[in-house]
Symmetry: C2
Subunit: 102 residues, 2 copies
C-alpha cells in the first residue's frame, strides 16, 4: 500500500464503546482536526499526509494532543489556531514546532 510520509494523530476522545468523552474533545480538538485537514488540502499535501482521530491518549491534562509519526513528536495544548503552523512548519518543512512539543 501507499504509506503516508507523515501520519498525524489527533485525540478526539473517542472511547471504544463509541462514547465521546474526555478532555481533548471538550477543548475543541474536533475543530483542530478540521483545520489540520483543510490546511493539508490547501498545501497540496493530501497524497503524503494522513490525519487520523484517536481515542484517549492517557495524558488528558496536557491535551489536546497531536502526535506526528514516524517522527514520534508529541504536541500538547494544541488549539485550532495552531493548525496552520503545524502544517507549514512540521509537515511542509520538517521543522518541529518546539513551543508546542511535550
Amino acid at each position: 500500500m501507499n504509506k503516508p510520509k507523515k501520519h498525524v494523530f489527533v485525540c478526539s476522545s473517542s472511547r471504544i464503546n463509541g462514547q465521546q468523552r474526555g478532555f481533548c474533545e471538550k477543548k475543541d480538538s474536533i475543530r483542530l482536526i478540521q483545520n489540520l485537514m483543510r490546511e493539508v488540502q490547501e498545501q497540496d499535501l493530501s497524497s503524503e499526509v494522513i490525519i487520523t482521530n484517536t481515542g484517549c491518549l492517557g495524558i488528558c491534562n496536557q491535551g489536546p494532543i497531536v502526535i506526528i509519526y514516524p517522527d514520534a513528536i508529541w504536541y500538547g495544548g494544541v488549539t485550532p489556531e495552531d493548525a496552520a503552523e503545524i502544517v507549514n512548519s512540521h509537515l511542509l518543512n520538517d521543522q518541529i514546532v518546539s513551543r508546542l512539543e511535550i
Copy 2:
C-alpha cells in the same frame, strides 16, 4: 514526556462526530483492541507500548487495520485471534508478522 517504544493504532471506526460507523468496528476490532491490551499487559510491556483506537483510516476493505509506529508497519484483515502473535512477534521481538502486512 515518556514516549512509548512502540505505538499501536487500531481502527475502531470512531467518527469525529462520535458515531461509531464503519467496517473495522463491525469486523470485531473492539475485541481485537481488548486482546492486544491484555497481551501487552501479560507480556509486561505496559511501560513501553501504547494501544490507541482510531477513526477510519480510509482503506476499509482491507480492515481491520493495525498500524505500528515508529516502524510504520500496516497490518490488514487482523482478527482478535491475531493479537497474541502481533504482540509476541512484533512488539516483543521486532519480527514483523508478514502474513498480515499490507
